[in-house]
Symmetry: none
Subunit: 428 residues, 2 copies
Amino acid sequence: MKAVVLSIGTELTRGELVNTNATWLSEQLVELGLEVTEHWTLPDDGPAIVAGLRRVASVCDVVICTGGLGPTSDDLTAASVAESLGVSLATDRATLEAIRRRYEARGRTMTEAGARMAELPEGATVLPNPVGAAPGFAVTLGECELCFLPGVPHEMQAIFRESIVARVAPRVRRTTHQVHLRTFGLPESEVAARLKELEESNDDLVVGYRASFPEVEVKVLARAIDGSSAEARARELARQVRERLGDFVFGEREDSFARAVGEALRGRGWKLALAESCTGGLVGQLVTAVAGSSDYLLLGAVTYSNAAKTSMLGVSPEILRAHGAVSAECAIAMAEGARRLAGSDVAVSITGIAGPGGGSDDKPVGTVWLALALHGETWVTRHHFVGDRDAIRAHAAHVALDLVRRAALRLDPVDTWTSKEIERLERN
Amino acid sequence: MKAVVLSIGTELTRGELVNTNATWLSEQLVELGLEVTEHWTLPDDGPAIVAGLRRVASVCDVVICTGGLGPTSDDLTAASVAESLGVSLATDRATLEAIRRRYEARGRTMTEAGARMAELPEGATVLPNPVGAAPGFAVTLGECELCFLPGVPHEMQAIFRESIVARVAPRVRRTTHQVHLRTFGLPESEVAARLKELEESNDDLVVGYRASFPEVEVKVLARAIDGSSAEARARELARQVRERLGDFVFGEREDSFARAVGEALRGRGWKLALAESCTGGLVGQLVTAVAGSSDYLLLGAVTYSNAAKTSMLGVSPEILRAHGAVSAECAIAMAEGARRLAGSDVAVSITGIAGPGGGSDDKPVGTVWLALALHGETWVTRHHFVGDRDAIRAHAAHVALDLVRRAALRLDPVDTWTSKEIERLERN
């Protein structure tokens, strides 16, 4: 069954408000088993709305429309619906009563503007608003059912849950299921290359990618004769996708990378310390965005100046003089210093050049050294990240978290050397 | 001139991603003087895109389309554009070379998927991507100019700024000008109340608000007979708005709060140190997101555990025992400890309960103490922030930055007591 999400409001088309309603509604409709074939947003403009309603009613089975039901003069949705249907607006007595009671409960008298919200297209089915004044309503245009909801998110959501789900769900037959796998460490093109053959040899599989920098999300969509067969098939295909992507997959839909890192630490009973230079607290912010992170994060040192690297982490001035702050030696000393300071099991450090200034031929913008200190061994890795300052910092922070995750899960580190190997590399 | 913002991506129609691109683009287009008549979002579905392009090209002068230009099999935009125009896809040699160099700069060989990004509709004008691999392109369909951009926001924005503005702006006759003022510290309703009379007494003024949590942006739109008169009028009205909002205005459109704080520090020649508990590095991340922040930020201590508050900042165990980590005393000791550790002019500290767990009747979730240590005096303030963990942390980080900004600019601190006053408050 095909659905269109229609949004009405000049504040949307002028870019003054992000359209989160369309996203929320689509997610609910997809969850119910509908296919959302388009989002469409129109300004508060009567003729545009009338023409728009006629077009969308001809291309889908259900339209969910939000906005333009309030009490002000630019709320034109109900009148436009009436015009599209060739009927008049009429006051719905029960709705008028409900609005009057709402006003009285607040010690106020219903205004003319308030009463306007009870004027609905003749023949419309009222969808009561459990949390606000303006009700929703539903009409039929040709073969299409159109449901109209207020634009205020919590009112829209309440009416959707109370009235729309019951109207729509019985009409849908589910035939698809989707599994989302979240990955970090492979570029999108490499993920696609690894899954190409699997996708080509399974007609019922659609693989979608979403780059959510610096992560890549893989969506596995399976089709079958009914919902539970589709789910079983999607799960099996997701297993095969995991086989091909290995430990680059860190979780599913609702997981965050920082949460996956936290779970890995919790699994080992490890405590973490951070030493950040060019990321300036970003790794700490990501780790502590997860509720309960105080179970494993002890501290972070944001050592932005050289003096702070020495005073907080004990990086020797000789290292800074001989190799500079952006060096394997400094990264190693920072990680080991943070681990010592915190008395933690593991510590990770980041030092690099986020740009746009500060680069040189030898150490261009994007050069970042990261080190991971564990009991008995320190690992270090050099990256050259591309993009602007934000991108370089975001990428570096994810690599730092990945070092911690891989250590805690006993996975192979990626492109990482031990501090002893670095000594050899540097000597050669 | 009429514009349509077209977004392509199944992740949008399925509600997996909020369409912030359409909002950003609309705002830019309105700024350039265009009328945005609709937003339209279609899934990654070839026939739907082909039919869609034909419809939108017939209803407006300019289409800005994002999404579906990447290297994977569900990126169908270029092929659909070619089909709409009745032309073939052809490899653009210069683009292919640029993509190959991008791969090589990363020590990798260009993949087949990577090369696909250079396949553009014959006759299309390439819009180079200064920050990513997939370029944009522009074509003409009937009377309509259609510009295609990647869906990754920072790439889309970079191409828009570099290529689209110059293509579109000369075609528009401007009669409006908009000035954006960014504020922090007043709720939206209070901002609106302060500007009500100004708006009512100036017919050519439209005041818009955008809550960009925890900031409020005020948009001053003036209309006149031509662009330069409108600009002069908007500037004058913006001056009057600033008079009414005072030092709650920290900058204009492109300014960030952290940059305003940085400029204030630079103006005084002050160095900054940070001591963060519940924000876990967020303040440091905000400060260091500004290029050149190493001129004034010395260090940050993310003291998530009590032990770290003592070992890094010298907060005495007696304070933690007697008052707890979320207390005026602890906030004061953290700020003073950070200032001492860094040898900085100023230090700010944050300690609170971001939730969802950890609250009590006495100190509910959202309770945050912040302190500002200066030479000779420490100021402290208690807030009770509402919202979820992210909102509480974001709000607290902004208040911390505001303390620094107000001190550096010699403005009145808001709702802040000195440490001596706190002693009095606590005794009463």
